[in-house]
Structures are given as structure tokens and as C-alpha cells.
């Protein structure tokens, strides 16, 4: 007996396994970042003074990164849509763009970090920087993880397209869900850390 509903959907739930799995995983991610946001609130409200993000961080870089990440979300969803239209070539282009945009994000982040480290603004500098590095660092790891998965589907993983296109499309959809989630987290991180 093979494991059912890896590709086809189950009648009563209307879903396949991967879809449920990825959403459950994202639910746990919500709680992970939730705990960090809760800590942020408690520490910030408990401290006598707290710097406004844009006085210590470069909000222009972050704005640029926001745009990059949102754009990568769009290319991601376009990659999936291309598969739905059975246009494998376009899929490859969009997927490559997604991974590259992720790369741009990381490069910008790299400059941002090294700038602060240069100024001696280590995590131990203040609670602001502590939470800044923790939140953005964790987020960055997620970007990296998403890029690895996407690169896999762009490269070796794409072989599945020839044997089971539906399954492949589902997988791309699920990795897309993760990617959008990472984007979504950034959408909240951006104002909390850089603007407020």
C-alpha cells in the first residue's frame, strides 16, 4: 500500500497531505515569531527609553529590502502560476528570479550587519540591538532555508516535472507558501524594528 493523498486530494478534507503539513508547520512558525514579538513588547514597554528604529538603523536599506522581498513573493507566485499553465520555461525564469531576489536581500542584510558590527553595535550593545539581531537573524535563516528549497526545485528537483507534473506543481506551491510567510514576517518586522 502506498501512502495515499500525496498528490490527489482527499474527498472529505479537500486537501493533500503536503498542503496540510506546510500549513501546520507555518502555524508553529507563527508561534515562534509570536514569542519573539511578545518579548519585544514586554522588554520595550518595560524600558525607560527606547530608540526610534530609524535613528539607529538605516530605514532606506530596509525599505529597499522590503520591496525586494515583496517582489520575490510575486515572482514566486508567478512561478507557480506558470506551472499551472504548463509553461515550464517561464517557471524556470520566475523561480530563478525568486532565488536571486532572496540573494539580493541577503546581500543587503550583510552590508547592514557589517555596518553595525563595525560601529561596535553588537547584540550586547543594548536590548534594541539584541532583539534586532535575534529577530532579523532568525528571519534571515528562514530566507536562506527558503532559497535552498527553491533552488532545489529550480535545479535537480525539477526532474519531477517530467514524471509527475501535478505533484511537482504542488510542491512548488507549498514551498511558495513558506516563502510568502517569510515575506509576511518581514512585513511586520520592517515597521516594528526600523520605523517605530
Amino acid at each position: 500500500m502506498d501512502i495515499p493523498y500525496t498528490v490527489e486530494v482527499r474527498r472529505d478534507t479537500g486537501l493533500n497531505n503536503g498542503k496540510i503539513g506546510i500549513w501546520l508547520f507555518l502555524a508553529s512558525e507563527v508561534m515562534l515569531f509570536g514569542a519573539l514579538f511578545a518579548s519585544y513588547i514586554l522588554i520595550r514597554t518595560g524600558s525607560p527609553s527606547w530608540p526610534r528604529g530609524d535613528t539607529v538603523l538605516d530605514y532606506r536599506l530596509a525599505t529597499f529590502n522590503t520591496i525586494v522581498l515583496i517582489a520575490s513573493s510575486v515572482t514566486m507566485v508567478m512561478a507557480w502560476a506558470s506551472l499551472m499553465r504548463r509553461r515550464f520555461g517561464t517557471f524556470r525564469i520566475y523561480m530563478a528570479a525568486t532565488v536571486l531576489l532572496g540573494g539580493v536581500f541577503l546581500v543587503v542584510k550583510y552590508f547592514e550587519y557589517s555596518h553595525h558590527l563595525h560601529l561596535g553595535e553588537y547584540p550586547s550593545h543594548s536590548n534594541f540591538f539584541a532583539i534586532y539581531y535575534t529577530l532579523t537573524g532568525l528571519h534571515m535563516l528562514h530566507v536562506l532555508g527558503g532559497m535552498v528549497v527553491n533552488a532545489y526545485f529550480w535545479g535537480p528537483g525539477a526532474k519531477l516535472w517530467n514524471t509527475n507534473p501535478v505533484w511537482f506543481t504542488n510542491r512548488v506551491e507549498h514551498s511558495g507558501l513558506f516563502w510568502h510567510f517569510v515575506d509576511l514576517v518581514w512585513i511586520f518586522l520592517f515597521p516594528t524594528l526600523y520605523l517605530l
Binding site: 498528490v7 490527489e8 486530494v9 474527498r11 478534507t13 479537500g14 486537501l15 498542503k19 496540510i20 500549513w23 501546520l24 502555524a27 507563527v30 508561534m31 509570536g34 514569542a35 514579538f37 511578545a38 513588547i41 514586554l42 514597554t45 518595560g46 530609524d54 530605514y59 525599505t63 522590503t66 520591496i67 515583496i70 517582489a71 513573493s73 510575486v74 514566486m76 507566485v77 508567478m78 502560476a81 506551472l83 499551472m84 499553465r85 504548463r86 507534473p165 501535478v166 506543481t169 504542488n170 511558495g176 507558501l177 510568502h180 510567510f181 515575506d183 509576511l184 512585513i187 511586520f188 520592517f190 515597521p191 516594528t192 520605523l195 517605530l196
Partner: protein, 125 residues
């Protein structure tokens, strides 16, 4: 229709015939534009240096709208199955609990609120 992937039994995502996908793509582009506009708005508002409560409310409101757009359209939550929405509702409830209860408990403590640091006011700077 054969050049389109229609997953068996797929009655969500409204079938995904070519016209559908094309319509989706148009929606994605619109969402993209909206997200860009909203990003510009948040940044612009933050330049106005509103008072903290106002700035926080605006920023979080805009972020919520942006997040909502991503979740609903890019992540297809708008047409997702009930089961997943239920899981997310549960998660959202506990997320709120996690955000709210520690702060509430903290503000309800019967300790002396502005505790002077035990020994010196500015031992560290």
C-alpha cells in the same frame, strides 16, 4: 484544456482553467502594486514623526493590511479549505494569548512599579 494542470478532485481554486489562471495573474499584479504603495505609505508616515501611539497604530494597521493581502492572495487563503482556516484561527487565538497575557500579567504585578535598580541608578551605560 489539456495544456493546463487540473488536479484531480480539485474543486477549490475554482478549477484553474486558463482564463482563471490569467485572472489570478492579474490579481497578483494588482496586489503587488498595492503592496508597493502601502510600503511607501508606511515609510512616508514614519517621516512625519507622529506621536508614538499614533505611529504604532498606523504602522501596525498598514502592516496588517499588507500581511492580509499576502496571506489572502499569494497564499490563497481567501479560497482555502475550512480545515486550514480553522487551524489558523486556533493559532491566531493562541498567538494573541501569547502576546497579551505576559504583558497583562506584568502590568498587574503588585511590585513597586518603577523599581529602582537594586543598587545604583546607572551602573551601566
Amino acid at each position: 484544456m489539456s495544456d493546463h494542470l487540473a488536479t484531480t478532485d480539485h474543486d477549490d481554486h475554482a478549477g484553474h482553467d486558463p482564463a482563471d489562471i490569467d485572472r489570478h495573474v492579474r490579481v497578483y499584479i494588482m496586489v503587488f502594486v498595492a503592496l508597493m504603495v502601502l510600503t511607501v505609505i508606511t515609510v512616508a508616515v514614519s517621516r512625519l514623526h507622529l506621536s508614538v501611539p499614533a505611529a504604532v497604530s498606523v504602522a501596525l494597521l498598514v502592516a496588517t493590511v499588507k500581511g492580509g493581502l499576502v496571506a489572502c492572495y499569494f497564499m490563497h487563503l481567501i479560497s482555502e479549505k475550512k480545515l486550514i482556516l480553522a487551524v489558523l484561527a486556533l493559532t491566531a487565538a493562541f498567538f494573541v494569548v501569547l502576546l497579551a497575557l505576559p504583558s497583562l500579567t506584568h502590568s498587574n504585578g503588585f511590585w513597586i512599579p518603577q523599581a529602582e535598580p537594586a543598587h545604583s541608578d546607572d551602573a551601566h551605560k
